[in-house]
Amino acid sequence: MSGVEPRPAEGRVYDAYLHLLDRQVVDPDGELICKVDDLELELAEDGAAYVRAILTGPAALGPRIGGAAGALMTAVHARLSGGAGPGRIPFHLVADIGSAVTVSARPADLPIRGFEDWVRTTIIDAIPGASDAPE
């Protein structure tokens, strides 16, 4: 990459840690999906780097927390999920970046539901009234 002059930025500019990481991800109706726990990068042949996907879940958050707590989180998740990687939302689904990151897909369509589904089917479903609409 040496000798290449920096290409000036066009379009909106963000700082990854300030504007993207640890932000809430929502669907177009405002339903809460997950947090941006990390971002997946893609490296092009000419040396440029692009953000390819949002990564989420303990497998993405654990390494960022680091230390014993992070290692524990990653290990427990690997154990319980049978070695599944982090949840992944392709970045082209991102419609807006504001106080939350809006994604143009429904939560059910995104491959990130493991723990929620487990708690729902194991505990919550069994309790009467779980599917009642809020007052």
Binding site: I33, K35, A100
Partner: protein
């Protein structure tokens, strides 16, 4: 007209919801031991919680984001997790204390041992969270909590020399036999009781539950600036009652029965009945708030769907956390640990945990990317900085003082 009614309801709910088991115990205890010498702490605490709650409410109304969501964004995942651990533990401890408080109130009313009530209380708290709508839940228990006005009525009926009271309150003096470290320890405890972290988690999450927008900033403010100070007046009335009844006798309050005595003394059986219902409503309402707050903090850190504004099926992990925290609270109470002691620890640890939540909120309330033009004005920022120093000082001094005075002996 409808708007006025809604605003009035909000204010009344805020007054009645202000007092919880921590305020009851702290104010009664301090009144019995120090008379009016610590009365000044209550207004200091009320101004602090008003300041803090207004910022949280404004942030929730303008950005649509509740407090804990923003804490992780501002502090990063590592510090945010440490913050979560501390805040969650303090909130869970407070929930445990509230469950104990409700059980004690029921024991006073029925003479059935409080331990037998504890599991039922836990179940009822969970059931109300599960089934009752957010607004209705708030209103019912907030309005019923207003019955605690009986303390103010009792205080007036007990007919103190108001001139003397004002003098004692404005010239704080250590009663004979009391040392300065213990005095400061109780000042911090009283401060922690007024400014418990769960109140702002709940207030800002509640704002999102009720879909506040920028038009609701005024409503939020009226709740805070009228409701909370009047709630503070209730706290002072509780302190005044024990100051008049117990302080002259040199008896320190350490049971809920003693807390409830002054209205009985002043107003007879009717006073007793009213105060018991009021205590029940206030502590039960606070148990609901802390139970929900336990779920809010964890869900908002991890980004899970939370809230009573969606079906439970859509917020399974949130409800799971709330349920688990209530169960643990019940189990802790069943170990026969003294509920009053648990309450005292919960308010002191609240004071320790305050800076963790306070500083990020102060920052976010100043961030134009979130707040647009509704960033903090000069008053909020000046007061905010003053309280930042206060909150830090209280937090740092709390544990050493607790150790030095053996938790206020």
């Amino acid at each position: 007209m409808k708007r006025l009614l809604a605003v009035t309801l909000g204010i009344l709910t805020a007054i009645g919801g202000f007092v919880d088991i921590g305020d009851l115990v702290a104010n009664a205890l301090v009144g019995s031991r120090y008379g009016f010498a610590l009365a000044w702490v209550v207004p200091v605490g009320v101004v602090g919680i008003c300041l803090y709650a207004e910022m949280c409410g404004r942030v929730a109304a303008i950005s649509g984001r509740p407090v804990f969501d923003l804490i992780r964004e501002r502090l990063g995942p590592r510090l945010g997790l440490a913050n979560l651990a501390a805040s969650f533990l303090v909130t869970a401890l407070t929930l445990t204390a509230e469950i104990g408080g409700v059980a004690l109130a029921l024991e006073l009313a029925t003479s059935v041992n409080y331990l037998l009530w504890v599991p039922l209380v836990g179940f009822l708290v969970w059931l109300v969270i599960w089934r009752v709508g957010f607004a209705r839940m708030e209103q019912v228990f907030g309005l019923a909590g207003l019955l605690l006005i009986v303390f103010a009525v009792a205080l007036w009926k007990l007919g103190p020399d108001w001139g003397q009271v004002l003098h004692d309150a404005s010239h704080p003096a250590l009663p004979p036999g009391e040392g300065l470290p213990t005095y400061l320890y109780y000042a911090i405890a009283l401060f922690g009781a007024a400014m418990t972290p769960y109140e702002v988690f709940f207030f800002s999450s509640g704002g999102v539950e009720e879909h506040w927008t920028r038009r609701d900033v005024g409503v939020a403010r009226s709740n805070v600036f009228i409701g909370f100070p009047l709630g503070g007046v209730l706290s002072l009335a509780i302190m005044g009652c024990t100051a008049l009844v117990f302080f002259p006798l040199g008896v320190g309050v350490d049971t809920l029965g003693q807390v409830a005595m002054p209205p009985a003394v002043a107003l007879g059986k009717v006073g007793l009945a009213i105060v018991l219902v009021g205590i029940f409503a206030a502590t039960f309402g606070a148990a609901l708030e802390t139970g929900l707050s336990a779920g809010y903090t964890v869900a908002q850190y991890f980004g899970w769907q939370w809230g009573k504004f969606v079906r439970p099926l859509q917020a399974a992990r949130f409800h799971g956390v709330t349920l688990l925290t209530i169960v643990v609270g019940v189990m802790v109470m069943l170990t026969t640990v003294d509920p009053i002691k648990v309450t005292e620890y919960s308010i002191v640890f609240s004071a320790v945990a305050l800076p963790l939540t306070y500083l990020p909120i102060l920052i976010v309330a100043n961030d134009p990317e979130y707040m647009g033009e509704r960033v903090n004005g000069r008053i909020s920022n000046t007061l905010g900085t003053v309280y930042l120093v206060l909150v830090l000082a209280a937090s740092l001094a709390a544990i050493p003082l607790m150790i030095a005075t053996k938790a206020g002996q």
